[in-house]
């Protein structure tokens, strides 16, 4: 099955979360002076188009600010997270990723919130996210995982690659099951 198709329908269920998490992220970025209101306004315009065209995977205000409009440098953002928020960083390229199914987590949620659990130790989950600054994202995951969460920051690129790798893991599982 082509990549895009499999994820669109499940992602619709996260539409509200996408809207909310992006709004809060935008707000937070402006609040901390990382982007200006004008920048955000521009990016929002494009964001709304993405949302309404059901191109939900593309609906990320962060991506737009970083890549489409180049109003923010990822390095600056990560610096901020480390300095001000004391957040650890992780490069997911070097992590051995596992299937999410045992954890009962929906991959589309990960795409929607730019967050992925990458390890699980004695009941505590380790999460890598690009959206740590968005309060709804943090709250959603902490509610879902019963609060036993440690957060890490990561880059968008590294996250996307990680999610794609997990998709492949899932596909492999599915094939294996079919074979049986």
């Amino acid at each position: 099955m082509p990549h895009g198709c499999a994820e669109i329908i499940p992602m619709q269920q996260h539409r509200a979360l996408i809207l909310r998490s992006n709004r809060f992220l935008g707000s937070a970025l402006v609040d901390k002076g990382l982007v200006t209101t004008g920048d955000l306004e521009e990016a929002n315009g494009k964001f709304m188009k993405a949302i309404q065209s059901s191109d939900l995977k593309r609906a990320s205000i962060l991506s737009m600010l970083l890549f489409d409009f180049k109003k923010l440098e990822e390095a600056k953002l990560l610096d901020y997270l480390v300095e001000e928020r004391k957040l650890g960083l992780v490069d997911l390229d070097f992590i051995e990723l596992q299937s999410l199914r045992p954890m009962n987590i929906d991959l589309s949620l990960c795409w929607a919130s730019s967050t992925v659990p990458f390890d699980h130790v004695e009941g505590t989950y380790l999460l890598a996210s690009c959206y740590y600054m968005s309060a709804p994202v943090v709250k959603y995951w902490e509610d879902l995982l019963d609060g036993r969460v440690i957060w890490y920051g990561t880059t968008i690129a590294s996250l996307s690659r990680a999610l794609e790798r997990i998709e492949e893991i899932h596909e492999a599982e599915d094939s294996a099951n079919e074979d049986e």
Partner: protein
């Protein structure tokens, strides 16, 4: 920021003159003719400045100065008089007078000196070690700091309101939209008037549209009119957004995005959204759609609820009293007893400014007089709270019960024993109830 001035002069005409001068200069004035009363008022209420005459029957100005300096030495005092002997002037200076003005008055100098004195006094208050009683609030922020711009909708003596004002000021040059998010009863219009006041430019026009008046035709015509009047930028303020219907909300979105009829109007166009309620909650309830949600989420400013600005509430209440006094052409502006004003500051104000305004008006309606007492405020606030039908019902029944008791007592010639046996009970029970 309106400051309050206490004027004392036994000469009624001159008193009026001084009152006019200060009121027109934007001060809130309390004027009295009796020094003893003035001392009480000074003790009860916080003033930013006192202006007094010297020649008064019960107490000379110099003595009055001494008395009030003992109570609140930080409040500046100006002496205005017909003639003063040099020795008296010396006495006044050593007594701590802030200014001496002899008649005929130079109004300009008087007001200038007033502003200077108040400025100095405020600076002293804001010095880190100062402990100026009322100033400062729970968040520990240095309130009452000079804002550097005019702001009337909140006196900004509280940290929360001062931050709000500063945030608004910093965002004043927003290009396309701004959202004011607050609780029910917020005075958005005044707040927007303050924003308008941030610009010195005459070409900034604000247009107000609310639930009852917002449609394409109206909006366009108001914008056109503004343009004709020389506006270079028109800011449309949308009030009560959450109460508008679907078509109005769509219109609001087009307006904010300069789409449809709002494209190319030949004048810079901005929108201010005023809503009551949290954006997320409104979105969840379906009262605003995605577009508005994101649009409004971009530049969102939370208006502080009155209960977070308790120091301001006192000042705002007095301002409302002045407003009512003007409307009714009262001879004197009523003032609050200190304990009455404290009640105001502690109250929850769930409907914020609207509730404050209605309460002040109700108090002045029900209890006219020069002094607004603790009891008056208490009963008005209680009345606000007891709005539930059940509470009204129960309290009515209780008070009628007591009235029946009184009625029986009256008809039985005031005899407590007879009254007690009338109800089949004993005298103590009756006494307790009455």
């Amino acid at each position: 920021m309106p400051y309050s001035v206490l004027i004392l002069d036994d000469d009624a005409d001159f008193n009026c003159l001084l009152t006019d001068i200060f009121e027109q200069a934007g001060y809130i004035v309390t004027s009295l003719t009796d020094p003893i009363e003035a001392v009480d008022a000074f003790r009860e209420t916080d003033y930013d400045l006192v202006v007094t005459d010297h020649r008064m029957p019960n107490m000379a100005g110099a003595e009055f100065l001494k008395v009030i300096k003992k109570i609140k030495p930080e409040v500046p005092v100006i002496m205005v008089s017909g003639y003063l002997e040099n020795d008296t002037i010396r006495e006044l200076i050593s007594g701590g007078v802030g200014g001496v003005f002899l008649k005929p008055l130079n109004i300009f100098s008087l007001l200038e000196r007033t502003a200077e004195l108040i400025d100095e006094a405020k600076k002293v208050e804001n010095a880190p070690e100062s402990d100026a009683g009322d100033i400062g609030d729970a968040s520990g922020v240095d309130a009452g700091v000079q804002l550097g711009f005019v702001f009337r909708s909140f006196p900004c003596k509280s940290g929360a309101s001062a931050s709000f004002a500063k945030r608004l000021y910093s965002l004043r040059n927003f290009k396309s939209s701004l959202s004011l998010i607050g609780e029910p009863g917020m005075h958005y219009r005044s707040i927007c008037e303050d924003i308008r006041g941030f610009y010195e430019n005459e070409a900034e026009h604000f247009v107000y549209l609310s639930k009852g008046s917002f449609d394409q035709e109206q909006a366009l015509s108001l914008i056109k009119v503004a343009k004709q009047e020389g506006a270079e930028r028109v800011t449309c303020v949308l009030l009560e957004l959450e109460g508008m219907d679907e078509s109005q909300k769509k219109l609001a979105t087009s307006l904010a995005k300069h789409q449809g009829e709002f494209e190319e109007l030949g004048v810079a166009l901005r929108t201010v959204f005023c809503v009551c309620g949290d954006l997320d909650a409104l979105f969840d309830e379906g009262l605003i759609d995605e577009n508005l949600y994101i649009l409004m989420g971009t530049a969102e400013v939370l208006v502080p609820p009155l209960r977070d600005c308790d120091i301001d509430v006192g000042v705002m209440a007095q301002q409302l009293v002045v407003e009512v006094a003007r409307e009714k052409s009262l001879a004197a502006v009523p003032r609050f007893e200190r304990s009455a004003r404290d009640l105001f500051r502690q109250h929850k104000w769930t409907r914020n400014y609207q509730e404050l305004r209605a309460t002040v008006r109700k108090i002045l309606e029900d209890h006219p007089g020069d002094i607004i007492t603790h009891a008056a405020v208490k009963s008005a606030l209680k009345f606000n709270e007891d709005v539930s039908l059940r509470t009204r019902f129960e309290s009515h029944l209780s008070s009628q019960k007591i009235d029946y008791l009184r009625a029986a007592a009256i008809l039985l010639g005031g005899d407590r024993d007879q009254t007690a046996s009338f109800f089949g009970t004993d005298v103590n029970a009756i006494e307790n109830q009455m």
